[in-house]
C-alpha cells in the first residue's frame, strides 16, 4: 500500500501537466473529429519523453526519496506513464462516443 502511495506521490509531480495535455487532446478530438486520434497519441508519447527529460534534471535529488523506499526508477516511470496513458485512452474513448 505504501509503495502505491509513493508511486502516486511521484505521479503527482507531473500529473497536472499531463492531464492538461489530455484535456487539450480531447478538445482537439471534439473540434477536428476522430482523425486526430493518431496525432493525439503521438503528441502524448512525445510529452512523456519531455516530462522524463525535465524531471530527470529538475527532480534528480528527490529520486532518492523513492530509492530509499526501495522503488527503482524504471518501476516509477513505467507505472506512472502506463496509468497516465490509460487515463488518456479512456478520456479519448469517452470523447469519441459522445
Amino acid at each position: 500500500m505504501l509503495r502505491l502511495l509513493a508511486i502516486w506521490q511521484f505521479y503527482k509531480t507531473f500529473a497536472p501537466v499531463s492531464w492538461l495535455l489530455t484535456f487539450l487532446c480531447v478538445q482537439l478530438l471534439y473540434a477536428a473529429g476522430t482523425e486526430t486520434w493518431s496525432a493525439s497519441i503521438l503528441l502524448k508519447l512525445f510529452s512523456y519523453f519531455f516530462i522524463y527529460i525535465i524531471m530527470r534534471y529538475n527532480r534528480r535529488k528527490e529520486m532518492f526519496f523513492y530509492y530509499n523506499l526501495h522503488l527503482p526508477a524504471t518501476l516509477l516511470w513505467l507505472a506512472c506513464f502506463l496509468a497516465d496513458f490509460l487515463i488518456f485512452t479512456l478520456c479519448m474513448l469517452i470523447a469519441t462516443r459522445l
Partner: protein
C-alpha cells in the same frame, strides 16, 4: 541477527580519470564504519555505487556473502542519506515519517523539540532542521544498513552530539557506514575506519596514519 555488508572490486572512472580502483569496505551489524577522504577522492561516488544508483565498470556488493546487483531495490537491506535534501519540499514531516514506517512518537523520543514541526512541510523548515529530519528518518527506518554521506553538515553542535548518540543506539540493530569532513566526529563515532586515497581504501588503525597519508597535517588531542 547479525549481517555483513562488503563492497569491493569497484572500478570507476570519469573519462580517463580513475576515481575508484582498489577499495574494500566492510560493515557489520553492531558497528559503525567511518570513511574519510579528501574532496574529490570519490567517497560519495563509492557510496552511490554501493547503494546501486551509480554505475561502475565493475563492482561487487555482498550482503552475508550473497552478491547484490542493485542494493537499493532489495527491500529493507539498506538506505542512503545523500549530501542534499531528498525528501520532496512540499511533503509534511508526518507524511514523510509514515512512508518510512516511523511513528512520530519514535522520532520525538529522540528529538522532542520537533513536536511543533510535525505538520509543517519540509520547505517550511530551516536547512538544519530539514537535514536533521532526513537523517533521523534514514537512521530510524527499518533497514539492515544505513549509508550516511556528510550527516553532520548544516547541523548545530548540540544536535551533532544527539545524532552521534542515536547512531550508537541504532548500531545495535543495523550497520552504519558514514563519511564526513568533520573527521574528529568520525574518529569518535567509528568502530572501523577507512581512508580513501588515490582510489584505494586504507584501513586506519591509528589516527596518526591520517597524517601519514596526508589527510590531515596533525592530529589534535583534546
Amino acid at each position: 541477527m547479525s549481517h555483513t555488508l562488503e563492497i569491493d572490486g569497484v572500478q570507476l572512472q570519469f573519462g580517463h580519470r580513475p576515481i575508484l580502483s582498489d577499495v574494500y569496505v566492510r560493515c557489520d551489524t553492531g558497528s559503525i564504519t567511518g570513511l574519510l577522504g579528501r574532496n574529490g577522492s570519490g567517497k560519495s561516488c563509492f557510496m552511490q555505487v554501493a547503494f546501486g544508483t551509480m554505475q561502475a565498470y565493475t563492482r561487487s556488493v555482498r550482503c552475508d556473502g550473497k552478491h547484490i546487483r542493485r542494493a537499493y531495490t532489495v527491500p529493507r537491506l539498506l538506505n542512503y542519506l545523500p549530501q542534499f535534501h531528498f525528501i520532496p519540499a512540499g511533503m509534511r514531516v508526518s507524511a514523510a515519517l509514515k512512508y518510512y514506517g516511523i511513528t512520530p512518537k519514535t522520532l520525538l523520543a529522540h528529538f522532542q523539540e520537533y513536536e511543533p514541526d510535525m505538520d509543517k512541510t519540509m520547505e517550511e523548515l530551516s536547512g538544519g532542521q530539514r537535514r536533521m529530519i532526513e537523517l533521523s528518518i534514514i537512521l530510524l527506518a527499518d533497514t539492515k544498513f544505513s549509508i550516511l554521506d556528510e550527516p553532520f553538515t548544516h547541523i548545530m553542535p548540540l544536535h551533532v552530539e544527539s545524532i552521534m548518540a542515536l547512531m550508537q543506539t541504532i548500531k545495535h540493530r543495523k550497520g552504519i557506514i558514514v563519511t564526513d569532513h568533520m573527521y574528529k566526529h568520525i574518529l569518535q563515532v567509528s568502530d572501523t575506519l577507512y581512508l580513501l586515497n588515490n582510489g584505494k581504501t586504507h584501513l586506519i588503525s591509528h589516527p596518526d596514519q591520517l597524517v601519514h597519508y596526508g589527510y590531515v597535517s596533525h592530529i589534535f588531542n583534546e
